[in-house]
């Protein structure tokens, strides 16, 4: 029999707003990680970003593909201080976004590739996004911090983030 493997490592549900959510001391026993975030921000049009191992150097980049209900677009961000899970439209104050991030070989010795999806419909506006992201570090990932950028936006109460091990 094959081995069952899709394990919720931890979940956080915010009872009040917070500037960030962090999962730390992530065990090294899985092949990949999957982060699932359902939530919104205290200020509109913000982007959820990920920081690994508290690294705030310019070691993150991403390429995105997005549709906003009218057009499709692609762009990128380079040498950022965190990994943008999307870069188009942004968040809502009231309507939750559904964001996933698959982090491949998170304990491996190569740079870390991340595939992100964002589903963010606002009843007349919104977008669906796909992102290929990169953290240029050979370190194993032991912590992940989620934060809305541009600076100055909290993550609203009621937001839920779950980290899965695969």
């Amino acid at each position: 029999m094959a081995t069952a493997t899709y394990v919720p490592i931890a979940t956080q549900t915010l009872s009040t707003s917070a500037s960030s959510i962090t999962f730390s001391s992530i065990p090294s026993t899985y092949t990949d990680l999957r982060l699932v975030f359902v939530g919104n921000s205290s200020a509109a049009n913000r982007y959820l970003t990920l920081t690994f191992n508290a690294d705030s150097g310019t070691n993150y980049s991403m390429t995105y593909l997005v549709g906003d209900g009218t057009t499709a677009a692609s762009g990128n961000r380079t040498s950022d201080t965190s990994l943008y899970t999307n870069n188009y439209g942004g968040s809502s104050i009231t309507i939750p976004q559904f964001i996933t991030a698959d982090i491949f070989s998170y304990t491996g010795s190569t740079y870390k590739t991340v595939l992100c999806t964002t589903s963010s419909d606002k009843n007349g506006s919104g977008n669906t996004d796909r992102v290929a992201g990169l953290w240029r570090s050979t370190s194993a990932i032991t912590s992940i911090t989620m934060q809305y950028l541009i600076t100055g936006s909290n993550i609203n109460a009621g937001t839920t983030a779950t980290l899965w091990g695969i």
Partner: protein
């Protein structure tokens, strides 16, 4: 595992092991192969998921074949962006299903792909495949985000899957291919 709440975050830290996602097999490339095959796939699951992290030292696309079928029984549509432009195209009646993740061309940068194969054991339906793949190299030319829908026009149950580097490049020895079954 420690959970650091933002402010007064509630947490559920129980390790609830879900029971419907199973690792079937993992292949780590030898460094001298341009294809990988999963064979004798059991028919006991509803769907399959391939998770791939690969680098071929070039920028080759990748393709899938099922049950060693190299006939013109595959078709696919793609939507992709390279950091500047969005493109879409499709191919009918072709000999493999290209999921077109670039394999990666720079050392330490690996392309990732998630390939979902729905109802793979059916003996009455053609097989539908969904992929999400991509790679980023900090603004470099090979950065891509890729979506593909694919079709294998066969009612045979899938018992083997071959992943091939279409340029014939060898995958580096850190490249990994893992097949999961979802019940």
């Amino acid at each position: 595992m420690a959970v650091i709440p933002g402010i007064l975050a509630s947490s559920k830290t129980g390790h609830l092991v879900t029971s419907n996602f199973f690792k079937i097999a993992t292949v780590t490339a030898s460094g001298s192969q341009s294809s990988v095959t999963f064979s004798s796939i059991p028919s006991t699951y509803k769907s399959l998921q391939l998770r791939i992290l690969a680098n071929d030292g070039g920028a080759g696309a990748c393709s899938l074949n099922f049950n060693s079928d190299s006939g013109t029984n595959y078709a696919f549509h793609r939507l992709y962006g390279n950091g500047s432009l969005v493109s879409a195209n499709g191919t009918a009646s072709t000999t493999s299903l290209s999921y077109n993740s670039p394999s990666g061309s720079l050392s330490n940068i690996y392309a990732a792909a998630i390939v979902d194969i729905i109802d793979y054991a059916s003996t009455s339906k053609y097989k539908t495949v969904k992929t999400f793949a991509g790679v980023d190299n900090n603004g470099g030319a090979t950065s891509l985000a890729y979506l593909t829908s694919g079709l294998w026009q066969s009612t045979s149950a899938i018992t083997s899957i071959t992943i091939t580097d279409q340029q014939g490049n060898n995958w580096t020895s850190s490249s990994t291919f893992t097949l999961y079954g979802i019940s």
